[in-house]
C-alpha cells in the first residue's frame, strides 16, 4: 500500500494531460501544419541520430566492455557525463565546438558549411545527449557474454567480424535493442540544448519539444496535442525496451 502514493503521483500529471484534450480535438490539431512539421522533423532527426549512435556507439561500447582502454574509469565517466549535464551546458558546449565561431565550426565555415540553425545541428545535439544510453546498455550486454565462447570460436577459425556478426550481436541483441530504444526516447525529448545550439525554426529545427514550449505561449491546444503524442511515443519506446530485456532474462 505504501507504494501507491508515489505511483499515483507519477501517473497523475500524465493522466491530467490526457484528460485535458478530447480525442476529437487531438485529431483536429494533428493536421495543423506546425504540428505535422514538428512531428516529421522529430521522427526524421531522431531516426538519423539513433542510427549514428548505433553505428558509432557499438565499437566504443565493445571496446569499453572488453576493457580495451587503459583508463577505463575515465572513459566510463566521459560516457556518463552527458547524462548529468544540464541541457543548457550541452547546448553552449556544442555551440563552442560546432558554432560558426566554434573550434571545429570555424574550420567548417571556411568551406561555407554552417551547422548551427540547421537540422544537422538538431541531430548533433541528439547524438550527444542520447548516445550514453545506448553505449551503456550495449557495453553491459557485451560484457555479459562469456568471453570463452568468443575465444573458442576464434580457435575454430572464425574471423573477428564473423565472431561479432554471428556470436556477439545475437547474444547481446536485446541489450542493443533496449539501448537503442532508450536513446531514441531521449533524443525525442531533447529540448534545452537544441534551442541553444540549433535554434528554433518551424520545419527546420523546431522539433516537438520546441513546438510544445513555443505553443504553450501561443496556442495551448498545439502544445497539448504534441505533448500527448510525445508521451505515447516515449512510453512505447520504453515499454519495448523493457519487454525485450525482460523476455531475454526469462529465456536465459
Amino acid at each position: 500500500m505504501l507504494s501507491l502514493p508515489m505511483l499515483f503521483f507519477l501517473s497523475l500529471p500524465i493522466l491530467a494531460l490526457f484528460l485535458r484534450i478530447s480525442p476529437a480535438g487531438l485529431l483536429e490539431n494533428l493536421y495543423q501544419p506546425e504540428v505535422l512539421q514538428a512531428i516529421g522533423l522529430s521522427l526524421g532527426t531522431t531516426l538519423i541520430s539513433t542510427l549514428i549512435i548505433i553505428l558509432a556507439g557499438t565499437p566504443l561500447a565493445y571496446a569499453h566492455a572488453r576493457k580495451q582502454f587503459r583508463y577505463s574509469r575515465l572513459v566510463d565517466t566521459l560516457i556518463d557525463l552527458p547524462l548529468v549535464l544540464p541541457p543548457a551546458v550541452a547546448g553552449v558546449a556544442l555551440l563552442m565546438a560546432f558554432g560558426r565561431k566554434g573550434i571545429f565550426g570555424a574550420f567548417l565555415s571556411n568551406f561555407e558549411i554552417d551547422i548551427a540553425f540547421t537540422p544537422i545541428a538538431v541531430v548533433i545535439v541528439q547524438v550527444f545527449v542520447a548516445a550514453p544510453f545506448y553505449i551503456k546498455s550495449a557495453a553491459l550486454g557485451f560484457s555479459n557474454i562469456d568471453q570463452e565462447l568468443e575465444q573458442s570460436a576464434a580457435l575454430d577459425g572464425a574471423s573477428s567480424p564473423q565472431i561479432f556478426r554471428f556470436l556477439t550481436i545475437p547474444l547481446s541483441w536485446s541489450a542493443l535493442l533496449a539501448g537503442s530504444a532508450m536513446s531514441w526516447a531521449r533524443a525525442l525529448g531533447e529540448f534545452g540544448a537544441t534551442i541553444i545550439f540549433a535554434g528554433n525554426f518551424p520545419g527546420r529545427t523546431q522539433t516537438m519539444p520546441l513546438a510544445i514550449y513555443i505553443g504553450f505561449e501561443l496556442d495551448l491546444d498545439i502544445a497539448l496535442t504534441l505533448s500527448v503524442i510525445l508521451i505515447l511515443l516515449s512510453f512505447l519506446a520504453l515499454f519495448i525496451a523493457k519487454y525485450v530485456l525482460n523476455r531475454d532474462w526469462m529465456s536465459s
Binding site: 555551440l95 558554432g99 560558426r100 565561431k101 554552417d114 548551427a116 540553425f117 534551442i195 541553444i196 540549433a198 535554434g199 528554433n200 525554426f201 518551424p202 527546420r204 529545427t205 514550449y213 513555443i214 505561449e217 501561443l218
Partner: protein, 224 residues
C-alpha cells in the same frame, strides 16, 4: 540598480529591494499575493493583469519610459550590413525573437511598417523573413547569439544593446518612422504599508533626473 543607489542616498533609512524578472512572471507572482510596494511592467498587458487581480488601482498607473528596436550585428560584421535595408539581401543569417514574446511581435510589426511606408520595397518583410534562421524564445538569446557571431544580424530592444560594451557589438538605429514604441508602466501596489515611499520612488523615476538615468541605459525617456 542606479535608482536604488540614488534613492537610498536621499532616504538613508530606506533599503530598496528590487526583484528583477520578466513582467509576466512578476505580474503572476503579484496576482498570487506576493508582497511588494511597487510594480514596473514592460508592457500594458501585464499591468492590466495586476489591476485585474486588484493589486494595483487603475488610475495610479503611469507610463514612465519607452523603448525601441535596434539592429545589432557581430563586431566583425560578417554579413557586411550597413543599414536596415541590407537585411533583405539574400543569404544572410538573421535571428529574431519569436512572436510569442513581445519583442518578437514588435519586430514583425516594424518590418511590416518598413514594407508598407518606410521607403523600402514592398517585399522587404518577406525577404527579411526568408533570411531568418531562428526565432528565439527570449530577447537575451538573440543578443547572446549575435555576440557570439553565430548569425549576421538580430533585432533587440535598444536597452538590451546598450548594456553591452561597444566593442563587442555593432548597433544600427532604426528610423523612428518605422520603429515601434514599447511602453513601460509603473504603479504603487494598493494597500502597501510603504505607499508614500513607493510614490517618492515613482517621482524619482519620472523626474528629469530619472529619465536621464533611463536614457543612459538605452531607453527613451519621456519628454515632459
Amino acid at each position: 540598480m542606479r535608482f536604488k543607489e540614488v534613492f537610498e542616498t536621499r532616504h538613508p533609512d530606506i533599503n530598496v529591494v528590487i526583484s528583477f524578472a520578466g513582467s509576466q512572471q512578476i505580474a503572476q507572482q503579484l496576482s498570487q499575493g506576493a508582497p511588494g510596494d511597487l510594480f514596473a511592467s514592460a508592457n500594458s498587458r501585464q499591468m492590466e493583469n495586476v489591476i485585474n487581480s486588484s493589486r494595483v488601482v487603475e488610475n495610479s498607473v503611469q507610463e514612465f519610459v519607452h523603448n525601441k528596436l535596434v539592429l545589432i550585428l557581430p563586431e566583425d560584421n560578417p554579413g557586411n550590413i550597413k543599414t536596415l535595408g541590407d537585411l533583405s539581401k539574400p543569404n544572410l543569417k538573421i535571428i529574431l525573437a519569436d512572436e510569442s514574446v513581445p519583442v518578437g511581435a514588435y519586430s514583425q510589426e516594424m518590418l511590416a511598417q518598413a514594407s508598407q511606408n518606410g521607403g523600402y520595397e514592398s517585399e522587404f518583410k518577406s525577404k527579411v523573413l526568408a533570411n531568418v534562421v531562428s526565432y528565439e524564445e527570449n530577447v537575451r538569446a538573440v543578443l547572446t547569439k549575435i555576440l557570439l557571431g553565430e548569425a549576421d544580424a538580430g533585432l533587440v530592444y535598444a536597452s538590451d544593446a546598450a548594456g553591452e560594451s561597444a566593442g563587442d557589438l555593432l548597433v544600427i538605429d532604426i528610423p523612428d518612422e518605422i520603429n515601434i514604441t514599447a511602453r513601460y508602466y509603473i504603479a504603487p501596489i494598493d494597500g502597501s504599508l510603504n505607499k508614500q515611499i513607493a510614490l517618492d520612488f515613482i517621482s524619482l523615476v519620472c523626474s528629469a533626473e530619472g529619465q536621464e538615468i533611463l536614457n543612459d541605459y538605452g531607453f527613451v525617456g519621456l519628454a515632459r
